[in-house]
């Protein structure tokens, strides 16, 4: 099988790699680019642990072929830290102990960031709907919802 050369932007940096034509983005991110924040839960688009953004839209990286991302922009959890400072979502997840085993956390952070950028003041129901594609088997979601609300509040204050 001949490979494909992929030229893309990840967390703002230009990245190039070569991979088989049927390789999925999650495997390229983890094994070729070294971004292991993206996790594989199900591999079939049900759990959201592999969530990243592709040209600003939230996707499961297990359901994207790497060949598709040529010329596109990807953002992962690794890009959330700015100037060595945790993103308000990351900080609030720590404050609220909104994680236990941590496997789902990177995907949830990326999904919650997309939500807050679109809707800075989401209701609890809106948060639960927006995170419906991200499964967590530890927390029972309550702490996650509260952490997202708190991060939203903090971000609204900052943007004022």
């Amino acid at each position: 099988m001949s490979g494909v050369h992929v030229s893309t932007t990840i967390n703002g940096d230009p990245v190039e790699f070569a991979c088989p034509q049927d390789e999925t983005l999650i495997n390229s991110l983890r094994d070729r680019v070294g971004l292991t924040g993206v996790k594989e839960g199900c591999g079939t688009g049900d759990c959201g642990a592999c969530s990243v953004t592709l040209d600003g839209r939230l996707v499961c990286s297990c359901l994207v072929l790497s060949a598709e991302v040529n010329g596109k922009e990807i953002a992962t959890v690794e890009g959330m830290v700015e100037d060595g400072k945790l993103h308000p979502l990351q900080q609030q997840f720590i404050e609220h102990a909104a994680l236990q085993c941590g496997i789902c956390t990177p995907g949830i952070l990326v999904a919650a960031k997309v939500l807050l950028e679109r809707n800075p003041n989401p209701s609890e129901e809106e948060i639960r709907y927006a995170l419906a594609g991200n499964l967590c088997r530890c927390t029972g979601y309550d702490k996650i919802v509260r952490a997202v609300q708190a991060a939203g509040k903090e971000m609204r204050k900052k943007s004022r």
Binding site: M1, S2, V4, P20, Q21, D22, T24, G43, T44, G45, D46, G48, S51, L54, R57, L58, V59, C60, C62, L63, V64, L65, A67, E68, A111, V114, Y129, A130, A132, G133, N134
Partner: protein, 286 residues
């Protein structure tokens, strides 16, 4: 496996025609890539249609709205004019999967994946939607209900690709709605789905189309259910007739999501409720 991303429909059709092995069209990939991973399909060639501008466009014209086959479902919900004209089609498309899936999945893909429980298909059938099917030497327009021929099977010939789904021009005082029954509100597959589209004249149903999903090998149009409400103001007797016609047309299976008896009954209930919503959206007073 070879991956190709042509820039025009013509190039895509040429690639599909030329390949002698197993070939699959890639739109959002939310079904195809899962099936590849599970080993259910082993493509020799994947033709990604997302780089084809006409397949990425939503365009309104005098004859209606054309939704390119590569337009992701999230974009349908973001399109205010489309949502206003066809709220039922848009709500059906937006019910499919999570936000992650919405960013990728398409109504054309939902149609061609040919699941009996596909959410957008009953809504599209009720809307009178058509698929524009293109191959190397031919272009044809096919009613959506003629595309799916059985679970996982379509009437598309080898070398054919759906370029777009078209919705007809909407007369005044029209409304549509789609409802599905699922045990959970999100991330679930329809036990039953019901789509209704209708147009009123002086408060009376003038034309209607009723379609059901997950109650037969394919989504089905139920003309008798439409006849039951045409000429009425959707009174209880008309709604009961609609429900009976929906249930009578069901040919479901029993599986973990529901029994034959349950699906047959719920089809009538959902048909009624969807008709009421469509009626109110058309400006009708119940």
């Amino acid at each position: 496996m070879r991956y190709e991303a042509p820039g025009t429909t013509k190039e895509a059709a040429a690639l599909l025609e030329k390949e002698k092995g197993s070939v699959h069209v890639l739109a959002g990939g939310t079904d195809l890539i899962v099936r590849m991973r599970l080993g259910l399909v082993e493509p020799d060639l994947i033709v990604d249609i997302k780089h084809i501008p006409t397949m990425q466009a939503i365009t309104a014209s005098a004859s209606g709205t054309r939704i390119g086959a590569a337009v992701c479902n999230a974009r349908l919900g973001e399109n205010k004019a489309l949502k206003k004209a066809w709220p039922g089609v848009v709500e059906a498309a937006n019910l499919i999967g999570s936000d992650q899936v919405q960013s990728r999945s398409t109504i054309a893909g939902n149609l061609c994946n040919a699941s009996p429980a596909a959410d957008s298909v009953p809504a599209l059938i009720a809307a009178g939607a058509k698929a524009i099917v293109v191959s190397k030497n031919k272009r044809r327009t096919v009613a959506v209900e003629k595309i799916v021929s059985g679970p996982g099977q379509t009437s598309l010939a080898r070398g054919e690709v759906v370029e777009a789904i078209t919705l007809p021009k909407r007369p005044a005082r029209s409304g549509d709605a789609y409802l599905r029954l699922t045990p959970r509100t999100e991330m679930d597959i329809a036990v039953v789905g019901a789509g209704v589209s209708l147009t009123l004249e002086r408060g009376v149903v003038k034309t209607a189309r009723v379609a059901l999903g997950a109650v037969a090998p394919t989504a089905i149009l139920v003309p008798a259910a439409a006849r039951a409400i045409i000429g009425t103001k959707l009174d209880d007797a008309a709604l009961d007739k609609l429900a009976a016609a929906c249930s009578a047309k069901c040919d479901p299976i029993t599986d973990k999501r529901g029994t034959i008896e349950y699906r047959t009954k719920v089809a009538g209930v959902l048909g009624k409720r969807a008709a009421k919503i469509a009626f109110q959206r058309a400006g009708g007073v119940l």
